[in-house]
Structure formats: structure tokens, C-alpha cells
Assembly symmetry: C2
Amino acid sequence: MSTPDPETVDPTLEADVFARNCASRPVLQNVASRWGALALAALRDGPYRFSALRRRVDGISERMLSQTLQNLERDGMIHREVQQSIPPHVEYTLTPLGERVADQLIGLIGILEANIDAIVSAQHDYHRA
Amino acid sequence: MSTPDPETVDPTLEADVFARNCASRPVLQNVASRWGALALAALRDGPYRFSALRRRVDGISERMLSQTLQNLERDGMIHREVQQSIPPHVEYTLTPLGERVADQLIGLIGILEANIDAIVSAQHDYHRA
DNA sequence: CCGTATCCTTAACGATACTG
DNA sequence: CAGTATCGTTAAGGATACGG
């Protein structure tokens, strides 16, 4: 999920997510993934520490949060700032690019939440038919 | 991915994607998944037949396209219309809700494509550090 | 043409235990 | 506090072959 194999992407290609080898595809996977989308959306309302973010994104394991944050940092979506102290203090913030991406995700989430009743109805109808 | 286990979601909950058992979570997974996002975005420029959509979403297998379309139809994002004929003719269209969702995804994809060079640079820097 | 069924491989995930 | 390491399980995905 995280590391786009250099052998499988072509940096010389024009950016087109519909193309099999476009570098934007794995990035889309990271930001729109199960945990990536929620982490970015959560970070939209302020810096978060690791534990606080874990509480906010209900259900995520330590392992997945760590991995997700690394992927997003790697893609330039978030910034990780370490305060050297005991106990350690680490803050995660969105980059300007991350903010724009998060805004789209929040828009998407908002549409789904606003229409969840209709969606659940559709799911029911589908199963009956 | 497709069928949110009824035992694990709580329809009485206020819609909050950050909550573990919210019904909106599996829906977000479907629309933002690897193939779901691309299928929705592709369908934004017109109805597609199965084979044409498969060519557009480069690299998707028949199996995954079929599965993805079923999930999206089930969630009320797309409409499937069958023309009874030989050979069979099936058209997939976005529902009004699907259009709104697709627009957000297209916005997201646009941001990523426009910034792909910066992202790839960030990936390089991350690996060096 | 539009899928489904089967098989198999890989990747994602969760739980737990442990470290600086 | 903020993670990493390891292990086992589940889910996603691809290839192929076949059917309506």
C-alpha cells in the first residue's frame, strides 16, 4: 500500500490516475484508504498527538495508525514534529497540500453522512430485489 | 468490503464516520476504494458499458469491476440499465448522489495529479532522510 | 457481450508484547 | 508517550475458464 514500486510507475507519464502506471494511483490509495481518509479528515481540526488521534479515529490500531501516518508523511500530506522531552511529545499537522486533500475528503464524508438514510434504504432495496 | 455486517453497524447512531460502528464507514470504503473511486470518477463523463469502463479504468480485472459496480449500485451511487438484446447491452450511470460523490473524488484526484511532482519529490526526500 | 465461479496469491489488518 | 516487532487471520485481488 505504502511504497509504490519504482519499477511499476512511470514518472515521465503525464499525470493520469486512470493509467495503470501513473504515480498518482498509489497516492490516491493512501489518502483515500480506510484509515488514511479518516486520519486526514481528523487532522483538519488542529494538530493531534498520536494518542489523541488514535482516540479520534475510533477503532484504529496502533500499528495501522503508525503505518498510515508514515505513508501520509511520505507523500507530503502531513508534517511530524517531535518535541524532545520525557515523555516524548509528537505532533502531527497537515501540510498545505494535505489541507486541500483533507477538504475534499471532508466534503465527500459530509455528503455520505448527510445521505446515510437514503443509502441504507438503497442497500435494503438492493438486497430485496 | 461490500456488505456491512448488520451486527457491526448501528443505524440509530447519528452519522459520524469517526465512530467505529457508523453505517457511513463501509460506504466511504466503497466509494473511496482503489477501484470504486476510479469507477465513479470515470462515470462522471457519461454512461459506460461494462467493457468500455474496463478499458477506461486501466488494469482492473473483470472480477473486480463487476464486484465494484455491484457495491456502488447497492449503495445507491450508480444505476444499472439492461437492454434486453443479443448480444446483451448494459449501461452504467451515476445517480444524482453518485454525481455529487464523484465530483468530490474528481476534485481530490485533480489535486493529486496537479501536485504529483511535489509528491514524488516528497517521497524521495522521505526515503533519503 | 456481460458477467460468474473457482482457485490461488498477496496484501491488509488486529492483537499482543515489548522498547526508547 | 509514541511507537516497533512478531505472529496469525482475514480480506482483497488477479488469472483463468466457463455460462446466459
